[in-house]
């Protein structure tokens, strides 16, 4: 059987090198031609890209695919399908599964679950055994299997001494640690952002300080160790200011922010609906403005979803009993293009090539669309209006906070390793 040929015809190619009108011809999983009016081989599948932007596939640094252990919420397969529909060709699967990804065997398990799914799944490992924050996980063994990112996400590594040793060890392996920045004693018991709204609603709050304190501590540890650190889901003005200073000082640190932290405020909690409960919590407008500014000025390196599926029975509970987290993979690109006042090229940098570099997935993901490149592509229509409908999500869960929201920009096709996995907004497998 010959390799499938795909021609993405009539679109505007946009990647880190710039923008041009061109058809993209793909064969054998690789881009073979990028030119206007490319000849279409007879056996080719033609994907119409008229009025669309053809970009490197998106890369999510932060997806909870829930497998193994919480298959009622999501599976690797259902999460990968949601990702493909959202324009992603690669996602980093968070290791807070049950069991957690703190051993080679769980890495292999998740990888075998990811075989044949419509999005590449890069497995992140835990920093500490059982994500308990005490003993280092076998990072060298996992790195030898190709794991590039390690995190205890869901909780931060609380002990400064453990985090320092983890950074030192990681530097020797050339891998990146990713920190969930939350000082646990300040955050304990909190169900939303601590501030005017939580005070009025009588809800225990998570103060912005809990994030800032761990960011400041970890930046000092990076200065001390020289290790690379990625800061997950930053949500506060103070933490972003500390990050900005650290970058100016040349520290090897990167950071992501989430769509919900630039689109929603803590005022969403007034009805006590757990669909708006997330960690870090939704913040007030001043922090939302700081997150948007960080995306515009380059302080933030990536938009990551923190896609965190939970089934209805988990969310249909009193607010303090419900777990935190919200869906994100199918709405992130559209939210960025609808809500952010930054050029499309910058949105794609934040969603594709910058996170690809952080995850160690470049240039196969996020790389320039040029002959010889891996054919991982996202074709998006920047002017396609649509309304978010939780029932039509490919996720096993329905906990999107954007139900009924009007968005513009929709993913039309996704090409993974040369194969169309989403065509005209429909998943192909």
């Amino acid at each position: 059987m010959r390799d499938p040929v795909v021609v993405v015809r009539g679109g505007t190619v946009l990647d880190a090198t710039g923008e041009r009108q061109a058809d993209v011809v793909v064969e054998g999983g690789r881009v073979v031609a990028v030119e206007e009016g490319a000849a279409v081989p007879r056996r080719a599948t033609v994907l119409d890209a008229g009025g669309c932007v053809v970009a490197p596939g998106l890369v999510d640094l932060h997806s909870h695919l829930r497998q193994p252990g919480a298959e009622e919420s999501e599976t690797v397969e259902s999460g990968a399908r949601a990702a493909a529909l959202g324009g992603y060709t690669a996602v980093v699967a968070m290791p807070n599964t049950d069991p957690p990804v703190d051993s080679a065997s769980v890495v292999r398990d998740v990888r075998s679950l990811a075989r044949g799914v419509p999005c590449h799944v890069a497995v992140a490992g835990a920093i500490t055994v059982g994500r308990a924050g005490e003993r280092l996980a076998p990072m060298a063994e996992l790195a030898a299997l190709g794991v590039r990112i390690f995190t205890d996400d869901g909780a931060g590594v609380q002990s400064a001494s453990v985090m320092r040793r983890a950074l030192e060890y990681a530097r020797g392996l050339g891998v990146t640690l990713a920190q969930h920045c939350e000082e646990a004693t300040l955050a304990a018991g909190g169900v939303m952002h601590e501030g005017a709204v939580s005070s009025r609603l009588g809800l225990a709050g998570v103060p912005a300080l809990a994030e800032e304190l761990m960011v400041v501590r970890d930046l000092a540890l990076v200065r001390e160790t020289g290790a690379r650190l990625h800061l997950l889901h930053l949500s506060t003005a103070a933490a972003l200011a500390a990050l900005s200073d650290a970058k100016r000082a040349g520290l090897p640190v990167t950071a992501e922010v989430t769509p919900h932290h630039f689109t929603l405020t803590d005022a969403a909690l007034v009805g006590f609906d757990p669909v708006f409960k997330v960690n870090p919590p939704l913040r007030p407008a001043s922090d939302v403005a700081a997150v948007r500014a960080a995306l515009a000025d380059g302080t933030a390196d990536a938009i990551a979803t923190d896609h965190a599926p939970h089934p209805p029975e988990a969310k249909d509970r009193p607010l303090d009993e419900a777990p935190p987290g919200m869906l994100g993979l199918e709405t992130a690109l559209a939210l960025a293009l609808t809500e952010l006042e930054v050029p499309l090229s910058r949105v794609l940098a934040l969603l594709s090539w910058q996170p690809a570099a952080i995850a160690g997935l470049a240039p196969d993901h996020g790389g320039p669309v040029a002959p010889g490149a891996a054919a991982n592509l996202c074709v998006l229509d920047p002017d396609h209006p649509w309304v978010v409908d939780p029932a039509s999500s490919a996720s096993r869960s329905r906990n999107t906070p954007y139900a009924g929201r009007r968005l513009r920009a929709k993913v039309r096709h996704t090409v993974l390793a040369g194969e169309p996995v989403v065509v005209d907004g429909e998943a192909q497998r």
Binding site: R200, L201, G202, G271, F272, D316, P318, L319
Partner: protein
């Protein structure tokens, strides 16, 4: 009483989840109707047929004696059928979710559900889950306890008002001190909203650790960390319960230190304005928030608060449910007492006098 006596609607909102649902007009209406039910309570047979054929269920998932008894007694005096669910007796013990329990209650044809829950906001969720029910918040977490605040307002109006006056006139500019664990108090949040709505001037008195992290948007006249400096100017002193665990060193060093600085000791009580009123929502921990002999002084209205809680809850249930009941069963005589008529006329008069006062 006829359909028109209560105006176009019983209350501004279909549920009573927070004091803010009422507005000054709703508060005035509850107090006026409560006044008519107080008259009923003094009769040999204190029952009225106002909610005959209606079913009120109580769902109390946190320990409570007085509030549950008060609501159930209120419903029975209105001739409603009463169903009682509590944590120990319900299928929640068998792993059923709260949402499914509520759906079951709704399917039984219950008209109103009175909810007490340890988590802030649960009555809001219940109201969202069960659109067919009128939901009454009987206390949720640290959030709201609206009928307690209404009982306090009714109690203060009864102590300060003169017969024939606008019942809300006595609140204009009234200096009220709300003392104690405001941070963890649902009563405090309801009291602040209620007193502000009727024009009183509330000062919060507490150590900084027992105040909410932010008071942005709170309609209070002031905040003080010094009870002694606040006490002399207060006409109403509303004490909040300090739960024992709050005095364990996390928020204040000890109960002893709390009582010494923020308790209403006999010595402090002696320095009160002679006309001042002392309220406490109960249960009282004698010797902590309030000295035992102070709790028994004539100016302490703690017993009145309990009695008035009953008529206020009758008024709330009647206003949420009685409207349709009256429409279904045709004109019914509710209470012929003059004061009841007066209260209704004021409530139905349209112009919310309290708003003008505020």
């Amino acid at each position: 009483m006829t359909h028109d006596d209560l105006g176009p609607a019983g209350l501004p909102s279909r549920h009573l989840l927070a004091v803010d649902d009422l507005g000054v007009e709703g508060i005035a209406r509850v107090l006026a109707v409560a006044d008519s039910f107080a008259e009923v309570g003094r009769r040999a047979n204190p029952k009225v047929p106002a909610l005959r054929g209606r079913t009120v269920a109580t769902l109390f998932l946190e320990d409570s004696t007085r509030t549950r008894l008060s609501f159930e007694t209120a419903a029975k005096r209105l001739s409603a059928d009463v169903l009682s669910f509590s944590a120990g007796s319900s299928s929640l013990n068998k792993g059923e979710s709260l949402r499914d329990t509520v759906a079951t209650i709704e399917a039984m044809g219950v008209d109103a559900l009175v909810v007490r829950h340890r988590s802030s906001g649960t009555p809001h969720r219940v109201a969202a889950w069960a659109p067919g029910l009128a939901v009454v918040n009987a206390g949720d977490g640290w959030h709201q306890h609206p009928t307690q605040a209404l009982a306090d307002l009714y109690t203060v109006a009864g102590a300060l008002g003169r017969p024939g006056d606008d019942p809300l006139a006595c609140f204009a500019g009234l200096p009220v001190a709300v003392v104690g664990d405001v941070r963890h108090s649902r009563v405090a949040r309801s009291l602040v909203a209620a007193y502000a709505a009727v024009g009183a001037r509330v000062t919060l008195v507490a150590p900084p650790t027992l105040l909410p992290p932010s008071l942005e948007g709170w309609p209070v006249a002031g905040v003080s960390h010094d009870l002694d400096a606040t006490l002399a100017g207060a006409r109403v002193v509303s004490l909040l319960r300090l739960q024992a665990e709050r005095g364990s060193g996390a928020y204040v060093p000890s109960l002893r230190e709390y009582t010494a600085r923020w308790g209403l000791t006999a010595e402090r009580a002696a320095r009160l304005d002679p006309a001042a009123l002392v309220l406490h929502p109960g249960p009282v921990v004698r010797g902590v928030e309030v000295a035992s002999d102070v709790a028994d002084l004539p100016c302490a209205l703690i017993g009145d608060q309990v009695r008035n809680g009953l008529v206020v809850r009758m008024a709330v249930l009647f206003l949420l449910l009685g409207h349709d009941a009256v429409a279904d069963t045709g004109p019914t005589r509710l209470a012929a007492a003059p004061s009841a008529r007066r209260g209704r006329q004021e409530a139905a008069a349209g112009a919310p006098r309290g708003a003008a006062d505020a």
